[in-house]
Point group: C2
Chain length 673, copies 2
């Protein structure tokens, strides 16, 4: 497919435009946000205000191409406006129905001199922010071209505190999010989550990244702003940022604008700025929970490679299938099942995606799994050898499809893709899309580990169900820095989580780290439960070794918690400190609620304003028990049942790095039929 297909064709009104007009204004449907865009001395710019106050100061736009500068000397040759208001339904997600309501302004620019290159700037303004993208129209002077630099700016009126990770070299976006004023930041990856004030939160990112480079920002001190973020695309190794060809649209440069941290989480701007679903029949795309032979490798109980401690054996996998079947889990992930793991697997490029190890009866196990209402999730570690994987994609996915396997977890553990390019460069982005499209053809869902940062592409390809691109649970197994700190979970939903669903793999119940004695997940057990609500993905893993769930009453919550939601409500939030989210199951009238805190114990009042009026519910509440503390004793969980109705308040006490998890279910009458 080409990027051309992604350009939204709108029934647009072309407005004849006086060339003398330096800028135009486009407002959000509710009128609060106004975006000004136009030219300043021939240089394209935009600025953003909310309720009359500058949110983004005038910020320049443009490119350096191999075929010349596209940053100045422009005139506006036309502007077009459009409005869209639609409601679309997610195949899966945090909300069932998504309102896509925006006003669009397209500025058609042309350089006055030279090749008179044309460039469109498209702005979509929503009640919850904006997207801006460039389009390179088909034109004589611009066939194939190279983007040497994208010059997009975000000029911030104040040097606000921001949660960021550094631009990624080889760490797969697996860095800790830290908070500091923007001016003190190095070059940062997107998303960039900015706390401007108690009533203004902004998140910068890109949407619909399909054939382009990942967007980073460099903080600069430029005139007209306290700090200006300047786009910095992840380059190919030759220095080129993007290979383009007109016509072509860039990904959207997005900015969510919110009054509360919670509004960031309920914003669907990222999804709205992606193309509608391209998969005609999505009936094979499902939601669920899974277990896997994986944490056992981190705990050194098993090896990925062959040998006496090989984890991916037929007998062991059968145990996991049986466990999944007994506990209503639909998937079993098995890592280390296929040839390629022996030796230096991350360097040797010898993975075979169809050939199981001799002690692993791949087809027999899948038949057994299907007979028990479960399926294997195929694991495809590539060691970063993307070409090798691409060469086998058809064979592997055909096999999986024939076997009834509808999900694959991919991995790219290598500093570079194919030993040369960054994974989040255009090279990597192209590869990931190839996998997603091949998988879609074969009715396979993809959980992409060591991926590019997601950009809402799951709207277009809902088989891209989840991904990594953050420090997941595994960092609690082997991280020399002691694992993910207590505040980690209270930051992820406001940063990486806004880019796409997260395969965090929560649910560690045994805190004794056999691999690195003395370390353990820096949460309480109740907080592990809360993560199932707070860290969204349609396929949640119960990540611990199944032995560690035996006899664990708190596992009931993992059994009960839904993974596909009709509606999401944020009850309270302070980024980096605490967070409570309530989500309504899409298939029932059940709600689940998750609360988490950083290292500080807290008492929270959870007001149940979201429940249906007049309906009686039972709340099944899991909270940190007496003495629970992530440092000394993570285990105590108090469970209680409480009759609740709309408007009631549930008081929960969160221990240091503690949490609460609640299932709220309607009271059902007993029947004998």
């Amino acid at each position: 497919m080409t990027t051309m297909k992604l350009i939204v064709v709108l029934a647009a009104a072309v407005v004849a435009m006086p060339l003398a007009l330096a800028h135009e204004v486009v407002s959000s449907p509710d009128g609060h946000i106004k975006v000004t865009a136009g030219l300043k001395g021939g240089k394209p710019f935009y600025s953003v205000a909310r309720d009359g106050r500058a949110v983004i100061n005038p910020s320049y736009l443009g490119f350096e191409l191999d075929k010349g500068s596209l940053k100045d000397g422009f005139e506006v040759i036309a502007s077009k406006r459009d409005t869209k208001c639609e409601t679309w339904t997610q195949v899966w997600g945090e909300d069932k129905d998504v309102v896509n309501h925006y006003n669009e302004l397209r500025l058609c620019l042309r350089q006055r001199r030279g090749a008179k290159l044309r460039l469109d700037v498209v702005l979509r303004v929503f009640d919850d922010g904006l997207g801006l993208r460039y389009e390179f129209p088909k034109q004589a002077g611009l066939g194939e071209f190279q983007i040497l630099d994208e010059l997009t700016q975000v000029a911030m009126p104040v040097d606000a505190q921001a949660w960021t990770i550094p631009t990624q070299g080889t760490t797969y976006y697996e860095a800790l999010w830290t908070k500091a004023p923007l001016s003190q930041k190095p070059e940062v990856s997107t998303p960039v989550t900015i706390e401007v004030s108690d009533s203004l939160y902004m998140v910068l990112h890109d949407a619909a990244l399909v054939d382009y480079a990942s967007l980073n920002y460099t903080p600069r001190h430029l005139p007209g702003a306290a700090v200006t973020l300047v786009a910095s695309l992840t380059p190919w190794k030759n220095g080129v940022k993007v290979y383009g060809h007109a016509p072509m649209a860039t990904p959207w440069r997005t900015c969510i604008i919110a009054r509360t941290p919670g509004e960031l989480i309920t914003s669907r701007l990222m999804l709205n700025l992606n193309e509608p679903c391209k998969i005609a029949d999505t009936s094979w795309i499902t939601c669920g929970k899974y277990v896997g032979i994986w944490w056992g490798m981190h705990m050194k109980d098993y090896t990925w490679s062959q040998g006496p401690k090989h984890g991916a054996t037929t007998a062991n996998t059968k145990r996991y299938i049986d466990f999944a079947a007994a506990h209503g889990m639909k998937g079993v992930l098995v890592e280390g099942w296929n040839y390629g793991w022996d030796g230096d697997w991350a360097r040797d490029n010898k993975f075979d995606y169809t050939k199981p190890y001799p002690d692993y009866d791949f087809e027999g196990l899948q038949r057994y799994a299907l007979s028990r209402g479960v399926s294997l999730i195929a694991h495809n570690e590539t060691g970063g050898f993307a070409k090798t994987y691409e060469d086998q994609l058809e064979a592997a996915f055909s096999l999986y499809e024939r076997m009834g396997i509808h999900a694959v977890k991919t991995g790219y553990v290598h500093p570079l893709m194919d030993e040369k390019e960054d994974q989040h460069s255009q090279y990597g982005i192209r590869h990931y899309l190839k996998v997603i499209e091949a998988a879609a053809r074969h009715h396979i869902m993809v959980v992409n580990h060591e991926p590019a940062m997601p950009s809402g592409l799951c709207r277009t390809y809902p088989n891209l169900i989840s991904g990594e691109g953050f420090r997941g649970q595994e960092w609690n197994a082997w991280s020399a820095d002691g694992g993910n700190p207590p505040y980690h979970v209270t930051v992820l939903p406001f940063t990486r989580g806004l880019a796409g669903s997260m395969d965090f793999t929560p649910g560690i119940f045994n805190f004794a780290n056999k691999a690195m004695p003395g370390t353990h997940p820096q949460t309480t057990l109740a907080k592990q439960l809360a993560e199932y609500v707070l860290l969204y993905t349609p396929w949640q893993m119960a990540a611990d070794e199944i032995e560690n769930y035996e006899g664990q009453p708190a596992f009931q919550f993992i059994e009960d918690v839904p993974t596909n939601f009709e509606r999401t409500v944020v009850l309270n939030a302070k980024i980096g400190n605490y967070l409570t989210i309530a989500r309504k199951d899409r298939d029932s009238d059940n709600w689940c609620v998750g609360s988490a805190t950083d290292e500080t114990a807290r008492d929270l009042d959870l007001k149940l304003d979201f429940l249906d009026q007049g309906k009686s519910y039972t709340a099944r509440i899991y909270t940190d028990g007496p003495g629970a503390d992530y440092r000394t004793n993570p285990y105590p969980v108090t469970f209680t049942t409480q009759a609740v109705k709309r408007g009631d308040v549930i008081k929960v006490h969160l221990a240091p790095s503690g949490g609460a998890a609640i299932m709220i279910v309607p009271v059902k009458p007993v029947t004998n039929h």
Copy 2:
């Protein structure tokens, strides 16, 4: 069968005895207990001392028969002694192996005048108490006879506090155990649990009650004792106590003697005084847990009888079978499945034990249950019409056996058996044995409700797996007195529980009593869990409606708790106040622990001295959560996991009428095979 068969044939040494010797002494194997028995002025008597102190003062023995008095004018014609030391294995129970070690003295008595009737008094003295029984040897003057009164006395040196229930008329032993000095008691049923001092506890009861009347005691003020308990047998309606025929042995009159309340619970004296197992192949006798359509009737969600709310429907039962299968429960009890429930079922005598109601597919459901590894438990309510039941026993049990049903719960809800005799009279005792024997022939286990008080007969007939004969959970559903009080569970194991396993049916999780709003079980939820350990039966019910277990993490304990034990240890106990029991699973190295308190909150230190030395265990601890109180909020349960080893102390806090339940499991190495 005849009672003759019950007489233990011992390799006995007949000792020629000087007639002048007024009494003999027989000691317990450890020498602490000494029982003196002989004649005082021709009247048979016995007395008991422990460590030189009188425990029972000289107490007379004898009978009034229709054929004359058997209370005086005796001479000792011989005495025989024997010793037995054996270890036998229970088919199921609180301990696997039982040591049966006693010294026996048999006094052969003959009246000097008249018909010169002979009577043997047999005493067995164990380290934990004694049994005394009479034998009527075959003799010319005594063929058929009537016992008009049994004159056995227990002369207490002090008027001690005792836990008793009044002699039963029509209340099926379902009275509250109360504590008062013996002298202030009315006629009481056995068991009688006496707290003589902080280091002397005694329990009086009868063992091996197979063709006799139940034993009660009347406190009397007689010379030579502070208070004397005089036997009072439950009569036939014509006043006769027992119809006998020589040779014949009476049941044992038992007295457990203990230094601590806990020693009462671990005494197996009652079992040792019953005959060994008469069932050759016991492989079909199993242990397990069950659910049932029963509490729903008490909650008025269902009716026993036909109609729109009929509980025993095919669809409803299938749900219960599915639930049982999903949660490792082996049985599903369904009440109201058979014809007879419509109208005034407790009076109409129309029960049909083979004919299901039209909306209940009895055979189809059992096939379905078996396919899921579950079985129906047949319910046979008789309304007290024993003869009607006896007439159908062969047909019913043959049908059940053919269907693969190996358990039946019987019921006798009627003030009288066959509208004329007391259930605990010889008439009733004979009926119950008939049912047990018929069931054994057909490989059916019996849970006997509204029974006679058990007497350890389950040793002889281990298909008699459990019974009622106390205020069970159902009293929490409809009792006008507010249900079982908080102290109830801390008394039962020291009273009724010493007579035999108890089908208490614990596990109510929904405390909202729809049938009697405002009332509810007077326990916390954690105490409901503790009851699974404290109130022993090899078939434990999860009594609540299955809807009320959905999503309940504490149900994990019910899933995990074993019901057949290798060993039982009492960690602490104060009768009527608190109690902690630890029991080791017979099929694994798992232990379970249950603690309960009365209305007073308590902190208990549970010392794990019973665990294997050098082994690592994980304790999964369920305790009352913050704010738990049986009066206001029974629901909060705190769950925590703790690594433990022998000698460690687990500290538990019990709420008012609260409890704690613990599973202790060995740490298992992870394997891939």
